[in-house]
Symmetry: C2
Subunit: 221 residues, 2 copies
């Protein structure tokens, strides 16, 4: 775990050498295979995590087995800070959707880091603010938008902003995965895709969804 590796994390890129040394002193590495659970909701929290590489989904499960994905954490993202700062149990489940390497920081380590390095505390305040904004939008989406609108919005967010009009997606997912993210059943995602295709917003190639017209997608919001 070098300074360069830490500085690759947006949260840490502005920290001075002493703060980075502090993180090095408190962080431990975790390797996760695809499909493996990192932690489950309701358990006492062990640590918060920073993703070095790979992807971890943070999700809630309903009593009848449905999943609502809250977030997919990728390289550079943090997750599970909530129980480290508020002292409660894990608020959700975490599972690797692809093989991942993470750094973990336990509560006591984090307590020392934010006390000894105010810049770290301020960095986390900004990160939390960003996450709260994201959640207000997620509540808005679930409350106001139809399934097709939520799917269209997700595709717009996933558009690969390559400066050429973004016809491809940054990443494809299965219809079941997309259903978990936008909060619906996989059949409904298929129907939404059909409706969006009919409106000329998307089409499909052998890799998956291709955006034909952002404007048409925006009209479906």
């Amino acid at each position: 775990m070098s300074f360069e590796q830490l500085k690759a994390i947006p949260y840490f890129q502005d920290l001075d050498a002493r703060a980075l040394e502090g993180i090095q002193a408190h962080a431990f590495e975790v390797r996760l295979q695809k499909g493996h659970m990192l932690f489950t909701e309701g358990e006492p929290a062990q640590a918060m995590y920073v993703v070095r590489f790979g992807k971890v989904k943070i999700f809630k499960l309903s009593p009848d087995g449905r999943e609502q994905v809250l977030r997919i954490a990728e390289a550079g993202d943090c997750f599970n800070e909530v129980p480290i700062f508020d002292g409660g149990p894990n608020p959700a489940n975490a599972q690797a959707v692809e093989s991942a390497s993470l750094w973990g920081i336990r509560r006591e380590g984090m307590r020392r880091l934010v006390e000894e390095h105010p810049a770290i505390a301020i960095g986390f305040l900004k990160a939390f603010a960003g996450k709260l904004r994201y959640f207000t939008r997620k509540v808005e989406d679930l409350s106001f938008r139809s399934v097709t609108s939520r799917v269209a919005k997700h595709l717009l967010e996933m558009a690969d902003d390559d400066g050429k009009g973004g016809l491809r997606l940054k990443r494809q997912s299965t219809q079941q995965e997309l259903a978990s993210v936008v909060g619906t059943a996989r059949e409904m995602v298929g129907r939404a895709f059909k409706a969006l295709e009919k409106e000329g917003a998307i089409t499909f190639d052998r890799h998956g969804v291709v955006i034909v017209s952002r404007a048409a997608l925006i009209r479906m919001l």
Copy 2:
């Protein structure tokens, strides 16, 4: 704005005198009449706010005029910290649901406060963690629960925990208000009340809802 008044705010009760003086130096008072808007979504943020007394609802509005209440801020609560820390615009609207007195702190004042008083930064980290946990639950409710279940959950949360079984609610609201909180139409709240009454969970007196059986409410979750 005395130390006693500030210390009445849970966020500030553990601060030392110098931190409290810092807040006094940066806070300004705002008075709001019932029904008046404090700010609207998308505008540049003026300040974050602490409620001295009264109630302010924080809400999103849909294009067709529906409201999703994100939170009702009461005495001792903070709101609108998100844009102060992440630099973006107001994430939602705020309106007094009863006459209120608030303290506002602008971005620059907050920046100085968290830099000069790490205890303030740490207090806000804890507060943000609590809000994030609350929002993960709200997403879970909207995604997994039926309207009746969301109404039952709300009534359980509003039960006046007086140590006698909590038959009364801490506060009554109209069916329209409750609909905005749980994310539905007012007619659906009426139907949910009817279903809960039929199950022996609630009844009505001249003030409004009375919880007859918490256990029965819990069974309706």
